[in-house]
């Protein structure tokens, strides 16, 4: 992004910092305001210039996070529905574990996946470390507990209203749970949007297993982390604004795809 680099150099010179300074510029109240304004202008220029590198980064972010959410949805929705109706020894422990994993730090997921996929790890033969596939694996692991725990709660709430009635119609436990998920599909979409938000905004896991390689595994969050470390706070913030805009657009698109835009109303209500 050469154009952007030149703007950043001009910004740093105005702020009294060295153009190649790696440390973050000193930010007082006035310059903080300037940073935000600069960031908004930069974000706008980045979008209007249709920068190829930015497009690649945004595209990869979306591909990785949407793939992870698709895998997470398949596993998490089924697991959550099953946990809502299944009763077996150890059920309470499994529910506790899933709920605990809601707080799973992304960097820990990254570390575990790194150990599994590293050359000497049990899945080292797959050879996918530092590739987008490894990032998908890590983000999938991150979102599965979130989707499962929230789905279980959604189904349980629904069962209180209509579980008996569905059973009285001849539905078995898992069918009852899946029908409840169909009934509460707007809630399920909201859960998936939450999971997507978690995946696309995390930085720890993708940084560890992807390596933030330019043009290969660099996504929005790792790019933001890199620019922040370099001291380019306005650019980092501008990328953050672009990321937020992209997530907002995805949410709008999903809402638009729903009949009569009911999801948009529900999520924003």
């Amino acid at each position: 992004m050469p154009g952007i680099d030149m703007q950043m150099i001009a910004y740093r010179q105005r702020a009294g910092g060295h153009p190649q300074c790696a440390a973050a510029p000193r930010i007082d109240g006035r310059s903080a305001m300037t940073t935000i304004v600069e960031s908004l202008q930069l974000a706008l220029r980045l979008i209007l210039a249709v920068d190829a590198e930015l497009l690649h980064i945004v595209g990869l972010s979306l591909r990785v996070s949407l793939s992870a959410c698709a895998i997470g949805a398949l596993i998490g929705l089924l697991a959550g529905a099953w946990l809502a109706v299944a009763r077996f020894p150890g059920h309470a422990i499994l529910v506790w574990l899933v709920n605990t994993l809601l707080a799973l730090p992304s960097v820990v997921v990254g570390l575990v996946v790194y150990l599994l996929l590293s050359r000497s790890g049990p899945l080292g033969s797959w050879g996918i470390l530092f590739t987008p596939k490894a990032m998908v694996v890590a983000q999938s692991i991150l979102v599965v507990p979130l989707i499962a725990a929230l789905t279980r709660r959604l189904v349980l709430d629904g069962l209180r209203d209509g579980g008996d009635q569905l059973r009285s119609m001849g539905a078995g436990p898992l069918t009852t749970a899946l029908l409840m998920l169909l009934h509460e599909r707007l809630g399920a979409v909201t859960i998936l949007l939450t999971a997507f938000g978690r995946a696309v905004s995390e930085v720890g896991a993708v940084m560890v297993v992807g390596g933030n390689i330019l043009g290969v595994t660099r996504v929005m969050t790792t790019a933001i982390a890199l620019e922040t470390a370099k001291g380019d706070l306005p650019l980092a913030l501008a990328l953050g604004i672009v990321l937020l805009g992209v997530v907002g657009l995805v949410n709008l698109l999903i809402g638009w795809l729903q009949p009569r835009g009911a999801v948009v109303r529900e999520v924003w209500a």
């Binding site: 209203d161 008996d164 009635q165 569905l166 009285s168 119609m169 001849g170 029908l179 169909l182 509460e184």
Partner: protein, 243 residues
């Protein structure tokens, strides 16, 4: 109390059956024989065990004691039961899909589903609303849809849990008329109700429950004309306090 006169065939037989929810004894050693073609009204105060007894008859709650379901004669198959609840639960789909879903869950062959669905909706006067989202219907229409969903199954036993309790007088009359029409088709009916007029009008036999115990089990004319145990008599006079 003398048990009610019996119809020819026994469908469900409860012998010393109890149901417990945690520390609460919802049904206490109940004995009841449900026979084919009967229209049984379950009456009693709130918390007396009417809904639990209905759920027990449908096999929705665990119990201790003996609960036997007999095969139909001469069809040689298990009776099909359907249940109507006070507040029907309708899936967020169209009216038509709610009926089709019930048929699918009961394993009705695909070839029959559409015709049965159309006929059931026609009988409750909802054929013009088939494509409408079920949740957008009024309370009375929702109950009519639930009745259509049950009706489409062609049940041998229809269990009704205060189906008109949450309806306005006009919707209540409509649903009562439909229930009476379903009754004319000949299924065995068991209805929990607070409405003694409804029991008198629709039932052939009345069971009075109190604190989870079955206290009175009589044909309808004897229930309303004979002297009953003190609490049942008070209930009949409308003097029983709300539980």
């Amino acid at each position: 109390m003398t048990p009610a006169p019996t119809s020819p065939q026994l469908l469900i037989d409860l012998h010393e059956v109890s149901v417990r929810f945690g520390a609460t004894l919802a049904l206490d050693r109940v004995n009841l024989a449900l026979r084919r073609g009967e229209r049984l009204a379950l009456v009693g105060a709130n918390g007396s065990g009417k809904s639990t007894l209905l759920r027990l008859l449908h096999g929705l709650v665990d119990s201790t004691g003996l609960r036997e379901t007999h095969r139909l004669e001469p069809e040689q198959r298990a009776p099909v039961a359907a249940m109507l609840f006070q507040r029907p639960f309708l899936i967020s789909l169209s009216v038509r899909w709610n009926v089709l879903l019930g048929l699918w869950l009961r394993g009705v062959p695909r070839a029959q589903r559409e015709a049965r669905c159309r006929e059931a909706l026609r009988r409750v006067g909802l054929e013009g609303q088939a494509a409408r989202p079920a949740r957008e219907l009024s309370g009375g229409q929702q109950q009519r849809l639930a009745l259509a969903r049950a009706w489409a199954l062609q049940p041998d036993i229809l269990l009704l849990d205060e189906p008109t309790a949450s309806l306005d007088p006009s919707a209540k009359r409509e649903v009562e008329a439909l229930i009476a029409e379903v009754g004319r088709d000949g299924p065995t009916m068991v209805m929990a109700t607070h409405n003694l007029g409804q029991a008198k009008q629709l039932a052939t036999r009345v069971v009075y429950l109190e604190g989870g115990r079955l206290v009175v089990d009589l044909p309808v004319e004897r229930f309303f004309n004979e002297s009953l145990p003190h609490e049942a008599a008070q209930f009949l006079k409308g003097e029983l306090p709300w539980a």
